[in-house]
Protein backbone atom coordinates (compact mmCIF):
# COMPACT_ATOMS: atom_id res chain seq x y z
CA UNK A 1 0.00 0.00 0.00
CA UNK A 2 1.15 3.56 -0.73
CA UNK A 3 1.31 6.22 1.95
CA UNK A 4 -1.46 8.77 2.38
CA UNK A 5 -0.83 11.88 4.44
CA UNK A 6 -2.40 14.92 5.92
CA UNK A 7 -0.40 17.99 6.99
CA UNK A 8 -1.80 20.49 9.46
CA UNK A 9 -0.52 23.77 10.88
CA UNK A 10 0.84 23.42 14.39
CA UNK A 11 -1.43 25.42 16.68
CA UNK A 12 -3.98 25.19 19.46
CA UNK A 13 -6.83 24.31 17.07
CA UNK A 14 -5.05 21.31 15.63
CA UNK A 15 -3.57 19.84 18.81
CA UNK A 16 -6.73 17.89 19.77
CA UNK A 17 -7.41 17.04 16.13
CA UNK A 18 -4.03 15.40 15.78
CA UNK A 19 -4.65 13.54 19.02
CA UNK A 20 -8.01 12.33 17.69
CA UNK A 21 -6.49 11.19 14.42
CA UNK A 22 -3.83 9.20 16.24
CA UNK A 23 -6.46 7.58 18.44
CA UNK A 24 -8.49 6.51 15.42
CA UNK A 25 -5.50 5.45 13.32
CA UNK A 26 -3.16 3.52 15.60
CA UNK A 27 -0.68 2.81 12.83
CA UNK A 28 -0.38 6.45 11.73
CA UNK A 29 3.02 8.09 12.10
CA UNK A 30 3.58 11.70 13.10
CA UNK A 31 6.27 13.74 11.38
CA UNK A 32 6.79 17.09 13.10
CA UNK A 33 8.24 19.85 10.95
CA UNK A 34 8.66 23.60 11.52
CA UNK A 35 5.16 25.01 12.11
CA UNK A 36 3.64 21.91 10.54
CA UNK A 37 2.62 18.40 11.58
CA UNK A 38 2.44 15.73 8.90
CA UNK A 39 0.57 12.51 9.63
CA UNK A 40 1.44 9.56 7.43
CA UNK A 41 -0.52 6.33 7.20
CA UNK A 42 -0.38 3.23 5.10
CA UNK A 43 -3.10 3.35 2.45
CA UNK A 44 -5.85 4.88 4.58
CA UNK A 45 -6.41 7.62 7.16
CA UNK A 46 -9.70 8.50 8.85
CA UNK A 47 -10.62 11.69 10.70
CA UNK A 48 -13.71 11.18 12.87
CA UNK A 49 -15.93 13.99 14.07
CA UNK A 50 -17.05 12.19 17.23
CA UNK A 51 -13.54 11.58 18.48
CA UNK A 52 -12.65 15.23 18.01
CA UNK A 53 -15.84 16.33 19.76
CA UNK A 54 -15.03 14.14 22.74
CA UNK A 55 -11.64 15.78 23.04
CA UNK A 56 -12.72 19.38 22.63
CA UNK A 57 -16.06 19.17 24.44
CA UNK A 58 -18.09 20.99 21.81
CA UNK A 59 -19.77 20.35 18.47
CA UNK A 60 -17.30 20.19 15.60
CA UNK A 61 -17.93 20.53 11.90
CA UNK A 62 -15.33 18.63 9.88
CA UNK A 63 -15.23 21.46 7.37
CA UNK A 64 -13.48 23.53 10.06
CA UNK A 65 -10.45 21.36 9.42
CA UNK A 66 -9.83 23.23 6.19
CA UNK A 67 -8.75 26.33 8.06
CA UNK A 68 -5.61 24.57 9.25
CA UNK A 69 -4.94 22.05 6.51
CA UNK A 70 -1.68 22.50 4.60
CA UNK A 71 -1.59 19.59 2.22
CA UNK A 72 -2.64 16.00 1.77
CA UNK A 73 -2.33 13.05 -0.55
CA UNK A 74 -4.71 10.33 -1.61
CA UNK A 75 -8.34 10.27 -2.69
CA UNK A 76 -10.68 12.09 -0.36
CA UNK A 77 -14.18 11.26 0.80
CA UNK A 78 -16.06 13.44 3.23
CA UNK A 79 -19.36 12.90 5.06
CA UNK A 80 -20.87 14.63 8.09
CA UNK A 81 -19.11 12.12 10.35
CA UNK A 82 -15.72 11.48 8.82
CA UNK A 83 -13.08 12.41 6.30
CA UNK A 84 -11.25 9.52 4.69
CA UNK A 85 -8.04 9.68 2.70
CA UNK A 86 -7.22 6.55 0.76
CA UNK A 87 -5.48 4.94 -2.17
CA UNK A 88 -7.42 2.31 -4.04
CA UNK A 89 -4.40 0.24 -5.00
Amino acid sequence: MSTVFLALQTNEDTRPIIEAILQDNPSAVVDEQPAMVKINADGRLVVRRETIEELIGRDYDLQELQVNMITMSGNLDQTDDEITLFWKS
Binding site: D61, Q63, Q66, M69, I70, N75, L76, Q78, T79, S89
Partner: protein, 517 residues
Protein backbone atom coordinates in the same frame (compact mmCIF):
# COMPACT_ATOMS: atom_id res chain seq x y z
CA UNK B 1 -48.43 23.09 14.88
CA UNK B 2 -50.10 19.85 13.92
CA UNK B 3 -49.24 20.57 10.29
CA UNK B 4 -45.57 20.30 11.10
CA UNK B 5 -44.35 17.22 9.36
CA UNK B 6 -41.13 15.72 10.66
CA UNK B 7 -38.60 16.61 7.99
CA UNK B 8 -35.90 14.29 6.90
CA UNK B 9 -32.56 15.79 7.83
CA UNK B 10 -30.34 15.84 4.76
CA UNK B 11 -26.79 14.53 5.06
CA UNK B 12 -23.83 16.47 3.75
CA UNK B 13 -23.92 14.78 0.36
CA UNK B 14 -27.68 15.10 -0.24
CA UNK B 15 -27.67 18.64 1.05
CA UNK B 16 -24.83 19.62 -1.22
CA UNK B 17 -26.57 17.96 -4.16
CA UNK B 18 -29.70 20.10 -3.80
CA UNK B 19 -27.54 23.15 -3.18
CA UNK B 20 -25.61 22.77 -6.44
CA UNK B 21 -26.73 20.03 -8.81
CA UNK B 22 -30.37 20.96 -8.45
CA UNK B 23 -29.73 24.50 -9.70
CA UNK B 24 -29.00 23.43 -13.23
CA UNK B 25 -31.52 22.81 -16.02
CA UNK B 26 -31.43 21.81 -19.67
CA UNK B 27 -31.84 24.94 -21.79
CA UNK B 28 -34.24 24.99 -24.72
CA UNK B 29 -34.20 28.56 -26.04
CA UNK B 30 -30.55 28.39 -27.01
CA UNK B 31 -28.57 25.42 -28.23
CA UNK B 32 -26.14 23.72 -25.85
CA UNK B 33 -23.30 24.15 -28.36
CA UNK B 34 -23.91 27.90 -28.50
CA UNK B 35 -23.98 28.23 -24.72
CA UNK B 36 -20.94 26.00 -24.23
CA UNK B 37 -18.87 26.53 -27.38
CA UNK B 38 -15.48 25.36 -25.98
CA UNK B 39 -16.43 21.94 -24.83
CA UNK B 40 -16.01 19.72 -27.88
CA UNK B 41 -12.90 20.78 -29.79
CA UNK B 42 -10.33 19.05 -27.60
CA UNK B 43 -11.83 15.65 -28.37
CA UNK B 44 -12.71 14.80 -24.76
CA UNK B 45 -15.96 12.87 -24.52
CA UNK B 46 -18.22 13.42 -21.52
CA UNK B 47 -21.41 11.36 -21.40
CA UNK B 48 -22.73 12.18 -17.97
CA UNK B 49 -21.70 15.32 -16.09
CA UNK B 50 -23.60 14.07 -13.02
CA UNK B 51 -21.01 11.36 -12.47
CA UNK B 52 -18.73 14.09 -11.15
CA UNK B 53 -17.92 13.52 -7.46
CA UNK B 54 -17.66 16.68 -5.43
CA UNK B 55 -14.65 16.29 -3.15
CA UNK B 56 -15.16 19.01 -0.53
CA UNK B 57 -18.77 19.99 -0.26
CA UNK B 58 -18.54 23.60 0.73
CA UNK B 59 -21.59 25.78 0.31
CA UNK B 60 -20.97 29.50 0.00
CA UNK B 61 -22.03 30.34 3.54
CA UNK B 62 -19.46 27.91 4.96
CA UNK B 63 -16.89 29.16 2.47
CA UNK B 64 -17.30 32.77 3.58
CA UNK B 65 -17.18 31.79 7.22
CA UNK B 66 -13.98 29.76 7.09
CA UNK B 67 -12.19 31.93 4.56
CA UNK B 68 -12.91 35.05 6.60
CA UNK B 69 -11.37 33.33 9.60
CA UNK B 70 -8.25 32.62 7.60
CA UNK B 71 -8.08 36.17 6.31
CA UNK B 72 -8.46 37.66 9.78
CA UNK B 73 -5.59 35.58 11.09
CA UNK B 74 -3.40 36.26 8.09
CA UNK B 75 -3.74 40.03 8.03
CA UNK B 76 -3.26 40.25 11.80
CA UNK B 77 0.10 38.55 11.37
CA UNK B 78 1.07 40.64 8.34
CA UNK B 79 0.28 43.81 10.30
CA UNK B 80 2.30 42.66 13.29
CA UNK B 81 5.20 41.61 11.05
CA UNK B 82 5.27 45.00 9.37
CA UNK B 83 4.88 47.01 12.54
CA UNK B 84 7.83 45.24 14.13
CA UNK B 85 10.12 45.47 11.10
CA UNK B 86 9.95 41.71 10.87
CA UNK B 87 12.06 41.78 7.72
CA UNK B 88 15.12 42.43 9.89
CA UNK B 89 14.61 39.04 11.54
CA UNK B 90 15.38 37.04 8.42
CA UNK B 91 18.64 35.08 8.42
CA UNK B 92 20.45 37.51 6.14
CA UNK B 93 19.59 39.80 3.27
CA UNK B 94 20.29 37.15 0.65
CA UNK B 95 17.05 35.50 1.70
CA UNK B 96 15.05 38.48 0.41
CA UNK B 97 16.00 37.53 -3.14
CA UNK B 98 13.69 34.52 -2.91
CA UNK B 99 10.86 36.93 -2.13
CA UNK B 100 11.73 38.95 -5.24
CA UNK B 101 11.70 35.83 -7.35
CA UNK B 102 8.34 34.88 -5.88
CA UNK B 103 6.54 38.16 -6.37
CA UNK B 104 7.76 38.71 -9.92
CA UNK B 105 7.65 35.09 -11.06
CA UNK B 106 4.85 33.37 -9.15
CA UNK B 107 2.29 35.87 -7.84
CA UNK B 108 1.28 37.05 -11.33
CA UNK B 109 0.59 33.39 -12.16
CA UNK B 110 -1.87 33.17 -9.29
CA UNK B 111 -3.74 35.94 -11.02
CA UNK B 112 -3.77 34.07 -14.35
CA UNK B 113 -5.05 31.03 -12.48
CA UNK B 114 -7.88 33.19 -11.16
CA UNK B 115 -8.94 34.18 -14.66
CA UNK B 116 -8.29 30.72 -16.05
CA UNK B 117 -10.52 28.99 -13.53
CA UNK B 118 -13.25 31.57 -14.20
CA UNK B 119 -12.97 30.62 -17.87
CA UNK B 120 -12.99 26.87 -17.16
CA UNK B 121 -15.92 27.24 -14.75
CA UNK B 122 -17.87 29.13 -17.38
CA UNK B 123 -16.97 26.61 -20.06
CA UNK B 124 -18.13 23.42 -18.31
CA UNK B 125 -21.83 22.56 -18.52
CA UNK B 126 -21.83 20.42 -15.36
CA UNK B 127 -22.68 22.20 -12.10
CA UNK B 128 -20.25 20.09 -10.02
CA UNK B 129 -17.11 21.10 -11.91
CA UNK B 130 -18.38 24.62 -12.46
CA UNK B 131 -18.79 25.34 -8.75
CA UNK B 132 -15.42 23.77 -7.93
CA UNK B 133 -13.66 25.80 -10.64
CA UNK B 134 -15.28 29.08 -9.67
CA UNK B 135 -14.46 28.57 -6.02
CA UNK B 136 -10.88 27.98 -7.06
CA UNK B 137 -10.97 31.11 -9.22
CA UNK B 138 -11.99 33.03 -6.12
CA UNK B 139 -9.22 31.40 -4.06
CA UNK B 140 -6.62 32.25 -6.68
CA UNK B 141 -7.33 35.97 -6.59
CA UNK B 142 -6.92 35.59 -2.84
CA UNK B 143 -3.48 34.11 -3.33
CA UNK B 144 -2.40 36.78 -5.78
CA UNK B 145 -3.55 39.54 -3.44
CA UNK B 146 -2.31 38.12 -0.14
CA UNK B 147 1.10 37.67 -1.75
CA UNK B 148 1.18 41.25 -2.98
CA UNK B 149 0.01 42.47 0.42
CA UNK B 150 2.56 40.41 2.34
CA UNK B 151 5.44 41.35 0.08
CA UNK B 152 4.42 45.00 -0.16
CA UNK B 153 6.37 45.75 3.00
CA UNK B 154 9.55 44.15 1.63
CA UNK B 155 9.23 46.37 -1.42
CA UNK B 156 9.38 49.41 0.82
CA UNK B 157 12.85 48.50 2.06
CA UNK B 158 14.47 46.40 -0.66
CA UNK B 159 15.07 46.66 -4.39
CA UNK B 160 14.02 44.54 -7.35
CA UNK B 161 10.30 44.31 -6.60
CA UNK B 162 9.21 47.88 -7.24
CA UNK B 163 7.65 47.26 -10.64
CA UNK B 164 7.00 43.55 -10.60
CA UNK B 165 3.91 43.58 -12.88
CA UNK B 166 5.80 45.46 -15.55
CA UNK B 167 8.79 43.16 -15.16
CA UNK B 168 6.74 39.99 -15.32
CA UNK B 169 5.53 40.91 -18.79
CA UNK B 170 9.00 41.81 -20.07
CA UNK B 171 12.06 40.43 -18.28
CA UNK B 172 13.79 37.59 -20.13
CA UNK B 173 13.70 34.83 -17.49
CA UNK B 174 10.18 35.71 -16.33
CA UNK B 175 8.94 34.61 -19.74
CA UNK B 176 9.55 31.07 -18.45
CA UNK B 177 6.76 31.10 -15.82
CA UNK B 178 4.66 33.51 -17.87
CA UNK B 179 4.68 31.38 -21.01
CA UNK B 180 3.86 28.33 -18.90
CA UNK B 181 0.62 29.85 -17.67
CA UNK B 182 -0.13 31.52 -21.01
CA UNK B 183 0.18 28.07 -22.52
CA UNK B 184 -2.31 26.64 -20.02
CA UNK B 185 -4.94 29.34 -20.25
CA UNK B 186 -4.87 29.38 -24.04
CA UNK B 187 -5.44 25.62 -24.15
CA UNK B 188 -8.97 24.24 -24.08
CA UNK B 189 -10.78 24.02 -20.72
CA UNK B 190 -10.09 20.30 -20.25
CA UNK B 191 -6.41 20.70 -20.93
CA UNK B 192 -6.34 23.70 -18.60
CA UNK B 193 -7.77 21.54 -15.84
CA UNK B 194 -5.23 18.79 -16.44
CA UNK B 195 -2.35 21.27 -16.70
CA UNK B 196 -3.08 23.47 -13.72
CA UNK B 197 -5.66 21.53 -11.73
CA UNK B 198 -3.91 18.20 -11.89
CA UNK B 199 -0.28 18.43 -13.02
CA UNK B 200 0.54 21.68 -11.28
CA UNK B 201 -1.73 21.61 -8.22
CA UNK B 202 -1.69 17.93 -7.46
CA UNK B 203 1.61 16.65 -8.75
CA UNK B 204 3.91 19.66 -8.39
CA UNK B 205 2.46 22.18 -5.96
CA UNK B 206 4.03 20.56 -2.91
CA UNK B 207 7.38 21.12 -4.54
CA UNK B 208 6.70 24.79 -4.91
CA UNK B 209 4.99 25.57 -1.65
CA UNK B 210 6.32 23.24 0.96
CA UNK B 211 10.00 24.11 0.30
CA UNK B 212 9.21 27.77 -0.18
CA UNK B 213 7.06 28.06 2.90
CA UNK B 214 9.17 25.95 5.17
CA UNK B 215 12.15 27.83 3.73
CA UNK B 216 10.52 31.04 4.92
CA UNK B 217 9.92 29.47 8.33
CA UNK B 218 13.56 28.34 8.58
CA UNK B 219 14.79 31.75 7.60
CA UNK B 220 12.72 33.80 10.03
CA UNK B 221 10.26 35.21 7.51
CA UNK B 222 7.03 34.89 9.44
CA UNK B 223 5.06 37.05 6.99
CA UNK B 224 5.76 34.79 4.03
CA UNK B 225 5.36 31.65 6.08
CA UNK B 226 1.91 32.79 7.10
CA UNK B 227 0.59 33.64 3.67
CA UNK B 228 2.13 30.45 2.41
CA UNK B 229 0.43 28.21 4.92
CA UNK B 230 -2.79 30.13 4.59
CA UNK B 231 -2.75 29.69 0.82
CA UNK B 232 -1.92 26.01 1.27
CA UNK B 233 -5.09 25.51 3.27
CA UNK B 234 -6.97 26.32 0.04
CA UNK B 235 -4.53 24.18 -1.89
CA UNK B 236 -5.82 21.03 -0.22
CA UNK B 237 -9.17 21.79 -1.83
CA UNK B 238 -7.54 22.47 -5.18
CA UNK B 239 -5.59 19.25 -5.08
CA UNK B 240 -8.70 17.17 -4.59
CA UNK B 241 -10.31 19.04 -7.48
CA UNK B 242 -7.29 18.26 -9.65
CA UNK B 243 -7.45 14.57 -8.85
CA UNK B 244 -11.22 14.46 -9.29
CA UNK B 245 -10.96 16.06 -12.74
CA UNK B 246 -8.58 13.38 -13.92
CA UNK B 247 -10.63 10.50 -12.55
CA UNK B 248 -13.83 11.96 -13.97
CA UNK B 249 -12.47 12.46 -17.49
CA UNK B 250 -10.86 9.02 -17.52
CA UNK B 251 -13.98 7.26 -16.31
CA UNK B 252 -16.18 8.94 -18.90
CA UNK B 253 -14.73 7.35 -22.03
CA UNK B 254 -11.75 5.13 -22.86
CA UNK B 255 -10.96 7.41 -25.82
CA UNK B 256 -10.06 10.11 -23.32
CA UNK B 257 -7.18 8.12 -21.85
CA UNK B 258 -4.51 8.75 -24.54
CA UNK B 259 -5.40 12.45 -24.71
CA UNK B 260 -5.08 12.81 -20.97
CA UNK B 261 -1.84 10.82 -20.91
CA UNK B 262 -0.30 13.17 -23.46
CA UNK B 263 -1.38 16.18 -21.41
CA UNK B 264 0.04 14.69 -18.22
CA UNK B 265 3.34 14.01 -20.00
CA UNK B 266 3.44 17.52 -21.42
CA UNK B 267 2.45 19.39 -18.28
CA UNK B 268 4.61 17.45 -15.87
CA UNK B 269 7.57 18.40 -18.02
CA UNK B 270 6.47 22.02 -18.53
CA UNK B 271 5.86 22.36 -14.78
CA UNK B 272 9.16 20.74 -13.91
CA UNK B 273 11.04 23.17 -16.13
CA UNK B 274 9.40 26.10 -14.31
CA UNK B 275 10.39 24.54 -10.98
CA UNK B 276 14.02 25.03 -12.01
CA UNK B 277 13.65 28.39 -10.28
CA UNK B 278 12.55 26.63 -7.08
CA UNK B 279 15.43 24.18 -7.32
CA UNK B 280 18.02 26.92 -7.29
CA UNK B 281 16.16 28.79 -4.60
CA UNK B 282 16.32 25.76 -2.33
CA UNK B 283 19.96 24.94 -2.93
CA UNK B 284 21.43 28.43 -3.21
CA UNK B 285 19.16 31.25 -2.14
CA UNK B 286 17.97 30.19 1.32
CA UNK B 287 20.76 31.11 3.77
CA UNK B 288 19.44 28.35 6.01
CA UNK B 289 18.59 25.29 3.93
CA UNK B 290 15.54 23.12 4.52
CA UNK B 291 16.23 20.19 2.24
CA UNK B 292 17.99 19.94 -1.08
CA UNK B 293 16.11 20.08 -4.37
CA UNK B 294 17.07 16.48 -4.95
CA UNK B 295 15.61 15.39 -1.62
CA UNK B 296 12.42 17.35 -2.23
CA UNK B 297 12.03 15.78 -5.65
CA UNK B 298 12.50 12.33 -4.16
CA UNK B 299 9.93 12.86 -1.39
CA UNK B 300 7.29 14.83 -3.21
CA UNK B 301 7.55 13.48 -6.72
CA UNK B 302 9.16 10.08 -6.74
CA UNK B 303 7.54 8.81 -3.56
CA UNK B 304 4.28 10.69 -3.44
CA UNK B 305 3.78 11.01 -7.20
CA UNK B 306 4.68 7.33 -7.45
CA UNK B 307 1.74 6.47 -5.18
CA UNK B 308 -0.53 8.65 -7.29
CA UNK B 309 0.41 7.08 -10.60
CA UNK B 310 0.12 3.64 -9.11
CA UNK B 311 -3.44 4.57 -8.16
CA UNK B 312 -4.17 5.87 -11.66
CA UNK B 313 -2.79 2.72 -13.31
CA UNK B 314 -6.25 1.16 -13.18
CA UNK B 315 -7.32 3.69 -15.85
CA UNK B 316 -4.32 2.86 -18.03
CA UNK B 317 -2.42 6.00 -17.03
CA UNK B 318 1.31 5.60 -16.57
CA UNK B 319 4.04 7.66 -14.93
CA UNK B 320 4.99 10.49 -17.33
CA UNK B 321 7.95 9.34 -19.37
CA UNK B 322 9.91 12.53 -18.63
CA UNK B 323 10.33 11.28 -15.03
CA UNK B 324 13.34 9.27 -16.22
CA UNK B 325 15.14 12.31 -17.56
CA UNK B 326 14.23 14.33 -14.49
CA UNK B 327 15.80 11.66 -12.31
CA UNK B 328 19.00 12.01 -14.34
CA UNK B 329 18.91 15.79 -14.02
CA UNK B 330 18.28 16.00 -10.30
CA UNK B 331 21.99 16.05 -9.47
CA UNK B 332 22.56 18.97 -11.84
CA UNK B 333 19.49 21.12 -12.26
CA UNK B 334 19.94 23.65 -9.47
CA UNK B 335 23.67 24.10 -10.12
CA UNK B 336 23.22 24.74 -13.81
CA UNK B 337 20.44 27.19 -13.10
CA UNK B 338 22.39 29.10 -10.45
CA UNK B 339 25.44 29.30 -12.71
CA UNK B 340 23.26 30.83 -15.38
CA UNK B 341 21.80 33.46 -13.09
CA UNK B 342 25.26 34.20 -11.71
CA UNK B 343 26.30 34.91 -15.32
CA UNK B 344 23.32 37.10 -16.07
CA UNK B 345 23.25 39.00 -12.78
CA UNK B 346 23.22 42.28 -14.68
CA UNK B 347 19.91 41.43 -16.30
CA UNK B 348 17.94 39.95 -13.38
CA UNK B 349 15.86 41.76 -10.76
CA UNK B 350 17.54 39.91 -7.91
CA UNK B 351 21.11 39.47 -6.75
CA UNK B 352 23.33 36.43 -7.06
CA UNK B 353 26.50 35.40 -5.27
CA UNK B 354 28.91 32.54 -4.91
CA UNK B 355 28.26 30.10 -2.07
CA UNK B 356 30.72 30.34 0.84
CA UNK B 357 32.87 27.44 2.07
CA UNK B 358 30.23 26.03 4.44
CA UNK B 359 27.62 26.18 1.75
CA UNK B 360 29.92 24.45 -0.71
CA UNK B 361 30.41 21.70 1.87
CA UNK B 362 26.64 21.35 2.24
CA UNK B 363 26.26 21.12 -1.54
CA UNK B 364 28.99 18.46 -1.71
CA UNK B 365 27.25 16.41 0.92
CA UNK B 366 23.85 16.67 -0.76
CA UNK B 367 25.21 16.12 -4.26
CA UNK B 368 28.13 13.72 -3.82
CA UNK B 369 27.85 12.49 -7.42
CA UNK B 370 28.12 15.84 -9.11
CA UNK B 371 29.02 18.89 -7.06
CA UNK B 372 32.73 18.52 -6.42
CA UNK B 373 33.39 17.21 -9.87
CA UNK B 374 31.39 19.49 -12.10
CA UNK B 375 30.44 22.63 -10.18
CA UNK B 376 32.84 23.42 -7.35
CA UNK B 377 35.81 24.10 -9.66
CA UNK B 378 33.73 26.51 -11.70
CA UNK B 379 32.59 28.35 -8.57
CA UNK B 380 36.07 28.54 -7.15
CA UNK B 381 37.30 30.05 -10.38
CA UNK B 382 34.52 32.64 -10.43
CA UNK B 383 35.17 33.44 -6.80
CA UNK B 384 38.87 34.01 -7.47
CA UNK B 385 38.08 36.20 -10.41
CA UNK B 386 35.62 38.23 -8.37
CA UNK B 387 38.23 38.69 -5.65
CA UNK B 388 40.54 40.12 -8.30
CA UNK B 389 37.87 42.56 -9.35
CA UNK B 390 36.78 40.55 -12.39
CA UNK B 391 33.28 39.56 -11.28
CA UNK B 392 31.95 37.92 -14.44
CA UNK B 393 28.84 39.43 -16.02
CA UNK B 394 27.82 37.75 -19.23
CA UNK B 395 26.67 40.24 -21.85
CA UNK B 396 26.06 37.83 -24.70
CA UNK B 397 22.46 36.85 -25.11
CA UNK B 398 21.79 33.11 -24.93
CA UNK B 399 19.82 30.91 -27.28
CA UNK B 400 16.41 30.05 -25.82
CA UNK B 401 14.33 26.92 -25.98
CA UNK B 402 11.28 27.56 -28.14
CA UNK B 403 9.00 25.69 -25.71
CA UNK B 404 10.11 26.31 -22.11
CA UNK B 405 12.05 29.50 -22.99
CA UNK B 406 14.95 28.60 -20.69
CA UNK B 407 18.38 29.34 -22.21
CA UNK B 408 20.03 26.24 -23.62
CA UNK B 409 22.14 25.56 -20.54
CA UNK B 410 21.08 22.07 -19.56
CA UNK B 411 23.31 19.14 -20.30
CA UNK B 412 22.65 15.89 -22.14
CA UNK B 413 20.83 13.34 -20.00
CA UNK B 414 23.63 11.22 -18.58
CA UNK B 415 26.48 13.46 -19.77
CA UNK B 416 26.97 16.58 -17.65
CA UNK B 417 29.85 17.78 -19.82
CA UNK B 418 27.85 18.34 -22.98
CA UNK B 419 25.14 20.96 -23.54
CA UNK B 420 21.93 19.48 -24.89
CA UNK B 421 20.68 21.01 -28.15
CA UNK B 422 17.76 19.89 -30.28
CA UNK B 423 16.30 21.51 -33.36
CA UNK B 424 13.34 21.24 -35.69
CA UNK B 425 12.74 22.71 -39.14
CA UNK B 426 9.23 23.97 -39.53
CA UNK B 427 7.95 25.99 -42.48
CA UNK B 428 11.42 27.07 -43.53
CA UNK B 429 12.39 28.26 -40.05
CA UNK B 430 14.69 26.59 -37.56
CA UNK B 431 13.54 26.17 -33.93
CA UNK B 432 15.75 25.26 -30.98
CA UNK B 433 15.05 23.16 -27.90
CA UNK B 434 16.65 22.31 -24.58
CA UNK B 435 15.49 18.69 -24.58
CA UNK B 436 13.65 15.92 -26.37
CA UNK B 437 10.56 16.62 -24.28
CA UNK B 438 10.35 20.29 -25.22
CA UNK B 439 10.96 19.33 -28.84
CA UNK B 440 8.12 16.79 -28.78
CA UNK B 441 5.74 19.29 -27.23
CA UNK B 442 6.55 21.69 -30.08
CA UNK B 443 6.13 19.03 -32.73
CA UNK B 444 2.70 18.16 -31.49
CA UNK B 445 1.43 21.76 -31.69
CA UNK B 446 3.86 23.75 -33.82
CA UNK B 447 1.29 26.41 -34.70
CA UNK B 448 0.97 27.27 -31.04
CA UNK B 449 4.64 27.37 -30.12
CA UNK B 450 5.85 29.31 -33.13
CA UNK B 451 3.91 32.21 -31.62
CA UNK B 452 6.12 32.31 -28.51
CA UNK B 453 7.39 35.77 -27.52
CA UNK B 454 11.03 34.82 -27.03
CA UNK B 455 12.81 37.58 -25.11
CA UNK B 456 16.16 37.16 -26.84
CA UNK B 457 14.65 37.23 -30.32
CA UNK B 458 12.60 40.24 -29.33
CA UNK B 459 15.68 42.09 -28.09
CA UNK B 460 17.52 41.38 -31.33
CA UNK B 461 14.51 42.53 -33.32
CA UNK B 462 14.60 45.83 -31.45
CA UNK B 463 11.30 45.31 -29.63
CA UNK B 464 12.69 45.66 -26.11
CA UNK B 465 13.86 49.24 -25.99
CA UNK B 466 11.88 52.09 -24.46
CA UNK B 467 9.68 53.90 -26.93
CA UNK B 468 11.55 56.52 -28.91
CA UNK B 469 14.94 54.77 -28.61
CA UNK B 470 17.20 55.20 -31.62
CA UNK B 471 19.45 52.15 -31.87
CA UNK B 472 21.44 53.78 -34.69
CA UNK B 473 22.49 56.71 -32.49
CA UNK B 474 26.16 57.17 -31.69
CA UNK B 475 27.26 55.17 -28.64
CA UNK B 476 23.95 53.26 -28.34
CA UNK B 477 24.17 50.77 -25.45
CA UNK B 478 21.69 47.96 -26.11
CA UNK B 479 21.93 46.41 -22.64
CA UNK B 480 21.26 49.73 -20.94
CA UNK B 481 18.27 50.28 -23.23
CA UNK B 482 16.86 46.83 -22.41
CA UNK B 483 17.26 47.44 -18.69
CA UNK B 484 15.34 50.67 -19.13
CA UNK B 485 12.61 48.79 -20.94
CA UNK B 486 12.49 46.44 -17.94
CA UNK B 487 12.39 49.50 -15.66
CA UNK B 488 15.42 48.23 -13.75
CA UNK B 489 17.44 50.66 -11.72
CA UNK B 490 20.84 49.66 -12.92
CA UNK B 491 23.14 49.06 -9.97
CA UNK B 492 20.33 48.76 -7.42
CA UNK B 493 18.03 46.03 -8.69
CA UNK B 494 20.73 43.90 -10.32
CA UNK B 495 24.39 42.81 -10.02
CA UNK B 496 26.19 40.87 -7.28
CA UNK B 497 24.79 40.69 -3.79
CA UNK B 498 28.09 41.72 -2.20
CA UNK B 499 27.93 45.21 -3.68
CA UNK B 500 24.18 45.63 -3.30
CA UNK B 501 22.30 48.38 -1.53
CA UNK B 502 20.14 45.66 0.03
CA UNK B 503 23.13 44.17 1.81
CA UNK B 504 24.41 47.53 2.96
CA UNK B 505 21.02 48.68 4.28
CA UNK B 506 20.19 45.42 5.95
CA UNK B 507 23.51 45.32 7.80
CA UNK B 508 23.12 48.90 8.88
CA UNK B 509 19.48 48.54 10.00
CA UNK B 510 20.19 45.36 11.85
CA UNK B 511 23.20 47.04 13.44
CA UNK B 512 20.90 49.77 14.71
CA UNK B 513 18.63 47.15 16.17
CA UNK B 514 21.28 45.20 18.01
CA UNK B 515 23.83 47.82 19.02
CA UNK B 516 23.80 51.16 20.78
CA UNK B 517 24.78 53.62 18.10
Amino acid sequence: MDMQVAKKKLGLKERYAVMTRGLDWTPSYQKMEDIYPCIAYEGIKIHDWDKWEDPFRLTMDAYWKYQAEKERKLYAIIDAFNQNNGHLNVTDARYINTVKLFISGISPLEYVAHRGFAHAGRAFPGPGPRVACLMQSLDEIRHAQTQVHSISNYNKYYNGMHDFHHMHDRVWFLSVPKSFFDDAITAGPFEFMVSIGFSFEYVLTNLLFVPFVSGAAYNGDMGTMTFGFSAQSDEARHMTLGLEVIKFILEQDPANVPIVQRWIDKWTWRGYRVLTLVAMMMDYMLPKRTMSWKEAWEVYFEENGGALFKDLARYGITMPKCAEQIALEKDHLSHQAWSTFYNYAAAANFHTWMPDEDEMAWLSSKYPESFDKQYRPRYEFWREQAAKGNRFYNKTLPMLCQTCQIPLVFTEPGDPTKICYREVDYKAEKYHFCSDHCKEIFEHEPEKYVQAWLPVHQIYQGNCFPEGTDPTAEGFDPLAAVLKYYNFENGRDNLDFDISEDKKNFDEWRGQATKNI
